[in-house]
Amino acid sequence: MTGPRPILEVDALERRFDVSAPWLNRLLEGKPRRSLRAVDGVDFDILPGQTLALVGESGCGKSTIAKLVTGLHAPSGGAIRFNGDPARMQMIFQDPFASLNPRWRVGRIVAEPLRTLFPETPDTQVQARVDELLRTVGLAPADASKFPHEFSGGQRQRISIARALAGEPEFLVCDEPTSALDVSVQAQVLNLMKRLQKEMGLTYLFISHDLSVVRHMADVIAVMYLGRIVEIQPAADLFAKPLHPYTRMLLDTIPDLEAPRRDRAPMGGEVPSPVSPPSGCSFHPRCPLAFGRCQAERPQRLPHVHDRRVACFAAEAAADV
């Protein structure tokens, strides 16, 4: 199959964290070393100009992937290939209160990537670029002389976006960029991000726990459960025809404003601890379709099962018939 070359290729990516008890405890109490597989064999590609969303509940490993892709963590296994200019990758964080230096004026915050990546830029040009960036994200050039605390959460997230754009990125990793914001402000920020993507041809790796936000933003959605991608599909297909029982359960559980179901039966059980995940398919204890094989083996995404879109033995069995 030939097509445009992906800008990011992630292959069998793994990240383990050591969560062992301290050395002395291990020695005295005979406790073994323990590791947590935050990311456990993840593959995906992102095409230039597209948005891939990672969605899942807390602890599924989606934020760890963001940190692996941006190089804030080193992978324990597998490979990440970025076919762009590594200097043109930027990140937008969830908390606009923690991600802006409170002692710096906005102008300095937004100019920082410029000064780091293009240190020879003359001051007047930096100034002009900061003004332009602030206007692009819907703030005023006069805001450059203010401090972050003078802005609301939504405005701060705009500052984060302006800062990310300052490095003229082609690839943006956005880790829950709107989850700290109110819905009406979220709409403003999401619209801005979509507009910028269209105008500048940006590629997004978009991480969120909110399926409705993801549906709005993403071209392709990857659903994660305990460190693995259980399903990956174009956004419209995922909502029209979810393939994995976990995706179906998620879709069944989220409150739907347009067709509220007051008698909704909630999903049973809880996400197990990633330190000791269930054997085989880690979703099997909660899965209505689970059978013997799910406990023993770990399902893979296979070419003949919905074109590698789902990792599920039940889907495989149905496809084999």
């Binding site: 509940e57 807390s58 609301s152 959460g153 939504g154 405005q155 109110d182 819905v183 009406s184 402000v185 979220q186 709409a187 403003q188 999401l190 619209n191 979509k194 726990h209 399926l211 409705s212 936000v213 549906r215 709005h216 419209a236 909502f239 359960m249 998620l250 879709l251 559980t253 989220i254 409150p255 739907d256 404003l257 347009e258 067709a259 509220p260 179901r261 007051r262 909704r264 039966a265 909630p266 999903m267 049973g268 809880e270 996400v271």
Partner: protein, 327 residues
């Protein structure tokens, strides 16, 4: 109709500051009947939590109730002193907050916390209180209660902790429960379990529930009626399906339009321009008028109120909805 469990009339909460008095809750009237869930929705700073805190008598000084009245099954509770309020909190009004970790004492076993709360509000013996704690934990859906009752809060997951908080809130069989963002810290699948639990308990016990949340989806599937707040005031009040399907206040419809849809693809989300005003800078007239596409001269002059300011009423605090024009 019998007396509502909670009746709030013209409630006003003020914060005196160096720069003048800020009105955090401005002339709110609402009521909740037995077994009814009233959703209170709004964005941060709209005054929804402050309304709940005022009812619980937990306003942080210098915040104070500056006007109006709060009645619990007919008894006025807004003018009680702290000692009298303590007798009401827990016993007649239960509270559930967003973060179950801060509601539970990390140094005590959950069973002991439940037993202590039960004994504070009743004259049960230790043994009887423990039996009741076990029954409560079972009722809120905690598995293997007999083994887990002597665990500490950190040994439970977030969803299980919130169930324990609900068990604590229920322990004295209160008439009213104030649940402030009870599911916000939880994952969607757990959120659905907790709202289903709240609904069941409310129906089985006839408890009135005030569900404060920013999540319109949760309200749509859980509440019977909804109060939409904006800048400390009530923007709209009414049965939940009416407000969701046919919002009358431009703020309510803007709020709904800005929520991404699960069913349709849209290029651009509807946006409400601007931001909610700060408490110190609320515009004259309707607080929403600078952001409203329909605002007329009257909106900039006079404050609209939900018709008659009737606690059990329904409608929008909007001149366009009230009079059909904004001239």
């Amino acid at each position: 109709m019998s007396d509502p469990v909670l009746e709030v009339r013209n409630l006003r909460v003020e914060f005196p500051t160096r720069h003048g008095i800020l009105t955090a809750v401005d002339d709110i009237s609402l009521s909740i009947g037995r077994g009814e869930i009233l959703g209170v929705v709004g964005e941060s700073g709209a005054g929804k939590s402050m309304t709940g805190m005022a009812i619980l008598g937990l306003l942080e000084p210098p915040g104070r109730i500056a006007g109006g009245e709060i009645r619990l099954s007919g008894d006025r509770i807004d003018s009680l002193d702290e000692r009298q309020m303590q007798a009401i909190r827990g016993r007649r009004i239960g509270a559930i907050f967003q973060d179950p970790l801060t509601s539970l004492n990390p140094l005590f076993r959950v069973g002991d916390q439940l037993v202590e709360t039960i004994r504070l509000h009743s004259d049960l013996s230790r043994g009887a209180a423990r039996a009741r704690a076990i029954a409560l934990m079972k009722e809120v859906g905690i598995p293997a209660v007999e083994e887990r009752i002597d665990n500490y809060p950190h040994q439970f997951s977030g969803g299980m902790r919130q169930r324990i908080v609900i068990a604590l809130a229920l322990s004295a069989e209160p008439e009213l429960i104030i649940a402030d963002e009870p599911t916000t810290a939880l994952d969607v699948s757990i959120q659905a379990q907790i709202t289903a639990l709240l609904k069941r308990l409310c129906r089985d016990r006839g408890t009135a529930v005030m569900l404060v949340t920013h999540d319109m989806g949760v309200i749509a599937e859980t509440a019977d009626r909804v109060a939409v707040m904006y800048a400390g005031r009530l923007a709209e009040l009414g049965p939940v399906d009416e407000v969701v399907r046919r919002p009358q206040h431009p703020y309510t419809s803007g709020l709904m339009g800005s929520i991404p849809s699960l069913r349709r693809e849209v290029d651009e989300l509807q946006m409400i321009p601007g931001a909610m005003p700060r408490l110190g800078a609320i515009p004259t007239g309707c607080a929403f008028n600078p952001r409203c596409a329909h605002a007329g001269p009257k909106c900039r002059r006079e404050v609209p109120r939900v018709a008659g300011n009737d606690p059990s009423g329904n409608g929008a605090a909007c001149w366009l909805a009230l009079e059909g024009e904004t001239a």
